[in-house]
Symmetry: C2
């Protein structure tokens, strides 16, 4: 458990790969992660975890099966458990995630993009 | 449970009072709140809740009994449960809080600043 401050821009400078979340803080069984996105992710859902996406930089398209939400810097969205979604980033996007420690990035969908070990930075 | 996006600047424009957190999202039993701070809060701790402060605007001093952390925009800190702390803002600061739904702003300290009913905006 950290009680020192975390500078998000500094943490974001430590990696450049896409779709590979890094852990920057944890509290109450929840993880705070940073991730860089570019391109289209896989359609997936999480059986048991709601997931929060907060846009730090760029524009995120959160696709649902019936609509798309466009999020710009300073906007967040909660994707409830069970809801199929696909994050899409036409250009590079920086995201802060807030979700239970148990969350797998691709949910119940197995993919080459699945990251089941999360590096702490 | 919301699945539409939340614009933080827009939400922050809806209130101007200090030390009175507003609920903007919830997930996994956790609350996402916005709060404006100015001046000195009360010393307090939370018995059961870790608390995350993320600085959206301004500068926050997080005082612990043995040191002070200075947080600027884009920085966050997790205050672990049981740890006495006092947020201080020399000038107005805008904060996003992540914490369990059970969290009372003044922890175990009763005060005129205690807000046990949180408005959703």
């Amino acid at each position: 458990m950290k009680s020192e401050k975390v500078n998000l821009v500094e943490k974001l400078s430590l990696f450049s790969d896409y779709w590979n979340p890094r852990l920057v803080a944890e509290l109450n069984g929840q993880h705070v992660k940073l991730v860089k996105l570019k391109g289209e992710f896989v359609w997936h859902h999480h059986d048991d975890e709601d997931e929060l996406f907060y846009v730090l930089k760029g524009q995120l398209k959160m696709e649902y099966r019936d609509r798309t939400e466009i999020l710009n810097e300073g906007e967040l969205i909660v994707v409830p458990k069970g809801v199929e979604h696909r994050p899409v980033a036409d250009e590079e996007v920086h995201i802060m995630l807030f979700e239970p420690a148990s969350t797998i990035n691709t949910g119940t969908t197995e993919s080459g993009l699945t990251r089941d070990k999360i590096e702490s930075i």
